[in-house]
Amino acid sequence: MKRVSFVTALGLTATIFLGAATAHETDNPAVTARMAIMQLYANNLGQLGAMAKGNVEYSADAATAAANNLGLLVQLDQSTLWPAGTDTDSISNTRALPEIWQNFPDVMAKGKALSEAVTAMQAAAGTDLASLQGAMGALGGACGACHKAYRAPE
């Protein structure tokens, strides 16, 4: 009897380890690439944000350049960057929730909202500081809407 329960325990332990092993770390280039795009967003948003906060002096040219970079980033075709099996259930080095793949039309709608916020920033960034500051909120809202629904907490 004792032996049986030991075997059962061994089996359970193995199952647990196998279960844990399914969410493995990946070096899938698609995952690296989509994270890099997020970094590029952050870098350009950071230049606009530094002006919005008054940490860096406002420059219409620099602001326009950063906003136009965002304009290019939203146009990138990311269709190969989100392959199946790269969600938080499958791999460990991502915060992309499986819901992304389940609610694809909504993900696209949120992407469109981001694109509109970026267009508004492109118009505002070169106008004056107040316009730039005014456009930051909608941009943050668009980023946050997707992160709230589709990104796992840290």
Binding site: A42, G46, G49, K53, M136, L139, C143, G144, E154
Partner: protein, 295 residues
Amino acid sequence: MNGPLKLVLIFGTIVGGAGWILTAPSTVESDMLATVSADVERGKTVFYASGCASCHATPDSQDDAKLRLGGGHAFKTDFGTFYAPNISSDVTAGIGAWTDEDLANALIHGTSPEKRHYYPAFPYTTYAQMTLEDVASLRSFLSTLPAVATPNTPHDVRFPFNIRRILGGWKLMFTRKGWVLDGDLTEQQIEGRYLVEALGHCAECHTPRNALGGMKRGSWLAGGPNPDGKGTIPDLTPAGLDWSEGDIAEYLKSGFTPEYDTAGGQMVDVIENTSQLSDAERAAIAAYLKALPVQ
């Protein structure tokens, strides 16, 4: 009846009676609101600073629908599941028939118009510090919002927490009167303190709680494990948050962190509210957080 039993009965009656009196729902004095004047614009600020819509709007509503306060949002806790009630201007399903006094009793004392205790899922331990002017102003703003006919969902709370009277004891232990951050503060820090400690209820999540669900006042805004399970709730004191005041204000406006990542989870809802405040109000919140003691 023998002597000791009689003594126990008498003692029990006294303790029980005292307990019954002590746990009675308290209310404001009716005449306190007589001289108070309401300002609907101020009410709008109170509404956003207090984050009413985050819980009371119909779940998953966006933009203008966030002003339809039909309730229904479910909150799963260790004590059971609470459902946010309808606080729309509907006179039967909502609170359209309430007086200023009814709203003051609810916000400041956690007491319903039927003189019953509300569960502290409704953060009245924060709102207890609200001025009566703000209560009346909030009511005047709420009355401008649409009426929603959705009936309330009863809470699903397990025994013994389903006996509302025991909340009187909980309130005795955990109701906060006065300010947590005290001492020599600037006008801006005082404004921030009111926004955080009386309206914003940041501490409801960012201050850890004891086993009875009371806040650990000694760890005010110091964060901790997320009771919802995953992740941790950040420490907002200077010990845990090294952002500048400008960084904090920008985060509350657009949701961008200093690294230009964005808020996630429930903070997205919070920022939908704080983005509606003025730059001066957000700067005041930042000044308050920076004035917190290092724990």
